[in-house]
Structure formats: C-alpha cells, structure tokens
C-alpha cells in the first residue's frame, strides 16, 4: 500500500513539477504567470492520444507532432495573451488575457475532442500493472530528463545564458543588445513543449481528458507557490511533495476531503510565506 502511494505520488508529483516548470519558464521570460500552463499539460495528453491512437501515427511521430503543436500553443499564448499586455504589467491584465485564452483552449477541446476521458497509448509497454508500470516511472523519468536538459541549456549554452540574463534583468539584457523578443518567444515555445511533455508522460495516468486542464492549472501552480516564483528547483521539490501529500491524503481521508486538505495546506503555506518556502526578493516600491 505504502509502495503504491509512493509510486503514484511521485508520478503525479512529477507531472505537477513539470507544469510548475512550465509556469516558471513563462514567468522568467516575461514576468507573467499564465493560466495556459495547465492547459498545455492537458493538451499534451490530448494531442498524444489524437496522433497515436485516433490517427494511428507511430509513437515517435506522434510525440514530435505533439511537441510542435504545444510549442505553437506556447507561441500563441505569447503573441495573443502576453505581448499585448506587457507594456502595462502593473495592471495585471495578463491574469485576464491568459485566463481568457485558457478558457478558449479548454472549450475547444471539450467540444471538438470529448468531455470524457480518452485512452492514451502505451509508450514502452513494459511492466503492465504493478508499481513498476511505465505509467508510474515515465513521468518521473521525463521530469528528470527535462530538468537535466534545462540545466544544460541554461548553464552551458549561450542561448540558455541569455535566457537567464533576461530573467535576471529584462531592461539590462535589452540594453546589452540581447534579442529580448525572440528569446521570449523561444521561452514560450519551450514552455509549451515542457507542458506538453508533462501531459504526454502522465498520459496513461491522467488520460487524455479535458478536465485535466483546470486541475493541472491549480496543482501545477501549488509547487510554484511553494517553491518560489521562477525557482525551478523549488518547483521540483514542491511538485513531488504535493504529489505525495495528495496521494497520502486521498488514502487517509478519502476523495472528498483530499482536495480540501491540499487547498488548506496551500493557503496556510502562502499566508505564512507569501514568497514561497525557498524565498525570493521583495521589489522596492517607492
């Protein structure tokens, strides 16, 4: 029993963590939190199912197409919901524009795809059933690989370093002649792919299901809130902690109260440490 809680806790935790990283990637490039992060996770599952099961494409082709589509959704987010409101960040219009876009994505999927959960293809087909099933370790593995790849990108490549520069100080980076707009678009495409991967790797666990969008929006944001905005390591730790806590709560207090328990924890932590457990700095106001 404990093994199964840990297995599923780590698996959903990995998905939440990746959605958290999606939030962070968008935030670092633009100082914007986007409601589309969770929808990207949902789309990862839906596109995977669509390409591989409904259209019968080979898995690898399906994966690549899914990544392309999610990257495009990321770019659309940047172009429609983020860029026009960047001028007036202090008015927080991005909360509204990204919420609107997220609702639109969700409605289109609900009407054109299905409101019922749909099957998701098996990737390796190993360890059917049991706690060694790929549905449990695939998200964890994907999360680990994504994080390593991101670290390599950010620390070892010039593009990655420019991402960091933008995240650190937007104006200074622009003054240095960095192509801020292109980097931002690249970040959103990257965030789209990370979100898509989260949904794809967790596809067998969460299925290709439209209701995953709002679910991942909330549960993916919790690690960000716990770990601190823009802090990927915090998001990973927060994601796994949330996954384990949630599955344990499911087990201990049952379905109805587990979401209440998660929410209470979320509010309590936020009120105690509004900038997350791993800190962050307060901007000067005056």
């Amino acid at each position: 029993m404990l093994a199964s809680i840990i297995a599923s806790g780590l698996a959903v935790g990995a998905v939440y963590a990746l959605i958290g990283v999606t939030y962070n990637t968008m935030f670092s490039a633009s100082r914007v939190m986007s409601f589309t992060a969770g929808q990207l996770g949902m789309l990862g599952g839906v596109f995977g199912s669509l390409f591989v099961l409904r259209l019968g494409l080979p898995l690898v082709v399906g994966l690549v197409l899914m990544l392309v589509c999610c990257a495009i959704v990321g770019l659309i987010t940047e172009f429609i919901a983020v860029r026009p409101v960047l001028k007036s960040l202090d008015q927080h219009l991005y909360v509204l524009s990204t919420l609107a876009l997220a609702l639109m994505i969700q409605q289109v999927v609900a009407v054109e795809w299905s409101t019922e959960p749909q099957a998701f293809p098996r990737v390796f087909g190993t360890g059917a059933g049991g706690i060694l099933d790929e549905k449990f370790w695939l998200p964890v593995l994907t999360c680990a690989v994504t994080i390593c790849a991101l670290e390599l990108l950010y620390r070892r490549t010039l593009t990655g370093l420019s991402f960091l520069a933008i995240a650190e100080d937007n104006f200074a980076a622009r003054a240095l002649g960095l192509p801020e707009r292109n980097l931002r678009m690249a970040s959103y495409a990257l965030a789209g792919m990370i979100g898509g991967l989260a949904g794809f790797s967790g596809g067998q666990l969460l299925l290709a299901f439209v209701a995953n969008g709002p679910l991942l929006n909330f549960y993916g944001f919790v690690p960000v809130a716990l770990g601190g905005l823009g802090n990927n390591r915090g998001a990973i730790v927060g994601g796994f902690a949330l996954g384990l806590f949630q599955q344990a709560a499911n087990f201990l207090v049952g379905g109805i109260f587990s979401s209440v328990a998660v929410f209470m924890l979320f509010i309590a932590v936020l009120l105690a440490a509004p900038r997350g457990l791993f800190g962050g700095h307060l901007a000067r106001r005056v």
């Binding site: 599923s8 749909q118 299901f209 087990f251 109805i256």
Partner: protein, 396 residues
C-alpha cells in the same frame, strides 16, 4: 399582490387581445402541431444518454409525422441543450412553459437538473416524463404531473443487490462511488439498502473520478474481505482504472453496478480486453440478448426497423428506445384525449402495460414509477452489440 385598477385594466386588455387571437380557436386546435419540449444535456460532461435519447426522439417524431401525425396534427419537438447545468435547465423549462407553450415536456436527462425543474413544472401543471433515477423526483401528491419511464434508483439498487446476494451469493460487499453529487448520494443509499438485506458492507469509499491510481482503495476493499464491488459512478475513466487495477492485483472480484461500466468508451481505456470480464452493469431485459443471442421479439423487430436509419453501435439501445417511447407516450395521450395538460395526465395515469420498446409502462394516479422492476437485470458489461447486452450469468 393586490390587483390595482391599472393592472386590472392591463389584464383585461391582455385577455381581450388573447380572445381576439383565439377566436378561430377550434380550427387552429385541430391542425396546430403537438408541441413537445425536449430538455437534453446534449453537450457537456454527461451528454451520452441524451445523445442516445435524441436519436430515438427524432426517429419517433419523423415516423409519426410521416404517417400523417396524430389526429392530423404533426409533432413538433423543440430541443434545448441544458449542458447538464440546472441553471440552464430552469431557464429552458420556463421558456417552454411560458414562451413556447409546449404541451408536454420530455426530460431532462440528469437528476441534478430534474431536481431543480420538477417543482417548476408542477406549479405550471406541465405534463412531464423523464428518465432520471433519483427517487424523490416522483411523488404523485407533490408532483401530479411528473412521470418516470426509467427505473428509479431503488429499482437499480434492488437489481444490483439481488444479483450480489442471490446470484453471486456473496456476503461481503464493498461500495465504491465517485465524488459527484450522484455518486455521494448513490453510495449512501446503496450501502443502507445492502445492509438492510443482510449483506455485510465491508468498505465504502467516494473516490475523485480524476484520481490517477485506484490501488489504495482497491487494496483496502480487498483487505476488508470484499467478495463483490458495487460501483456507482458515471465516470468511464474511473471504471476502466478500477478494472485495470483489479487485473494488476490478480484479484477475481466481481464488479456490479452502474450502467456506465458497460459504456463503449471503456474498451479503449483497458490495458487488455480481458479486464472487462466479470463486470456486471445494470441493464434491461427488453434490451438484452438471451442465450441464443436474440432480443425479445418486439425489440428484434425494432432494431431491424432502425437499421440504416439510427446508428446504434456507439450508444445504448435502451436510450434510443426510451426516446422513442417518450414521444409515443405523448402521442398516444393526445390520440386518446387532447393536448390539454389534464387530458394528457389523465391518460398517463390510466396507462397499463403500455407496450414500449424499453419496457411495459404502468402508471396509476398513486404510482408514477412506470418501469417494471423485474425487467431491471444485470448484463455482461463487455458484450455490447447494437447497443444491447448479454444477460449476466444467472438469469434465465
């Protein structure tokens, strides 16, 4: 509210206008179409039944109109998509009553909506038939206008309970439902009823339908010694996950319960087809194949009629049949009387063994549950063909 002189004046003017329009009334009444309101959750989360019913409704209306209608009057069905949202259902109901002035209403198809609109229809004395299972929806004293064509929740419960105790001969039962309004209520009633009949309910749980892993609850049910699991959920995703988990656990417990377990959607969600065995979902004798693979004669013919006109492979036969029956019940009421609410209700109250495709309905002034309880059976969930199922083992 006290009627002021001014209001009185407006009222008189209005009734004068109305009588002016209704002057050629007799002539209109004979050719005026029979207006039927159809409250259907055609989109949204639980739309599958309404989509099936809708095919039956259209088929029945077209069939009747093609043969000249009822006493020369055409049937006109006005559909409103409520999306399963009680608020939209309330709006649509009032629109049907006051604006469209329909003669009878069929639907809604979800209990949550039905709970909200039943008192409104009762106040307007609107003849209403619906297929919602919640028991409290039917009360001939409070809602003399409301009739049920489907079994009630109690009848579903009876079938499931009887099957567990009498056929499967199990003592220890686990009850698992989802966290929706329906699931929470169903788990409660089912548990109470099972206990009353002497079954030992060893485990009860409401699971979030989106929960990715069913192992903890299944393990606890197993550890508690459950010999059968009674499932009340409309979520096919949750059903399939439980079937898969059962296979992983190498547990041969039987699942008994909600019709959604026989939904075609489940097939693609299973890890292997064998996982769907030993799953028994609520079904109906009228829409079940016997040992020879035949439906009852009336429905064998019905399916033949539908062939090429109504798609059955992706829905359930009883939904389509229920939709046809609903329109026929209204049409018959008009044929035997008129479109006045009193006449329709009077006719329905006198219906005995009305030969429908879904079942033989019997209503009386004191009993508005029309479906014969004995016809609620358990079917083999994985045996769908043309939207109908094989009877579960143990029925003759």
């Amino acid at each position: 509210m006290k009627t002021t002189r001014r209001e009185f004046a407006i009222g008189t003017a209005a009734s004068a206008a109305a009588s002016a329009f209704s002057f050629p009334c007799p002539a209109i009444a004979q050719t005026e179409p029979i207006r039927i309101g159809w409250l259907a959750a055609l989109t949204g989360a639980s739309s599958a039944p309404a989509i099936g019913f809708d095919r039956g409704v259209r088929y029945a209306a077209e069939t009747i109109n093609a043969t000249g209608g009822v006493k020369g009057r055409k049937i006109e069905v006005t559909t409103r998509d409520t999306q399963g949202d009680p608020t939209k259902a309330v709006n649509a109901t009032q629109e049907m009553i006051s604006q469209l002035k329909v003669h009878a209403v069929w639907g809604p198809t979800n209990s949550g909506e039905s709970l909200a609109i039943t008192p409104i229809m009762a106040r307007a004395k609107m003849p209403n038939i619906h297929p919602c299972v919640i028991d409290s929806l039917i009360d001939p004293e409070k809602f003399p206008n409301a009739f049920r064509t489907s079994p009630s929740n109690t009848q579903w419960n009876d079938a499931v309970r009887t099957y567990c105790i009498k056929v499967l001969k199990v003592k220890k039962v686990a009850v698992i439902a989802d966290t929706t309004g329906y699931g929470v209520a169903a788990a409660k009633y089912s548990t109470e009823a099972l206990k009353k009949d002497g079954a030992d309910v060893v485990y009860v749980a409401n699971i979030d339908a989106t929960q990715p892993d069913m192992t903890p609850d299944m393990l606890r049910a197993k550890n508690a010694g459950a010999e059968a699991i009674v499932v009340w959920s409309t979520s096919t995703g949750m059903d399939a996950r439980m079937f898969n988990t059962r296979a992983t656990m190498r547990w041969d417990v039987a699942f008994v319960g909600h019709p959604s377990m026989s939904s075609g959607e489940i097939k693609s969600l299973l890890e292997k087809p064998a996982n769907w065995e030993k799953v028994y979902a609520v079904g109906y004798r009228s829409c079940s194949y016997d040992a020879n693979g035949k439906l009852p004669p009336r429905n064998e013919e019905f399916v033949a009629q539908l062939k090429g006109k109504v798609e059955l492979s992706d829905t359930l036969l009883w939904w389509v049949a229920g939709g046809v029956d609903a329109i026929n019940l209204i049409a018959k009421a008009v044929e035997n009387g008129s479109t006045s609410p009193d006449d329709i209700i009077k006719y329905w109250n006198s219906v005995k063994k009305f030969p429908g495709y879904f079942g033989d309905y019997t209503w009386s002034p004191t009993e508005h549950n029309g479906y014969p309880g004995d016809d609620v059976v358990m079917s083999d969930a994985s045996s769908a063909k043309n939207g109908a199922f094989k009877l579960a083992p143990g029925y003759s």
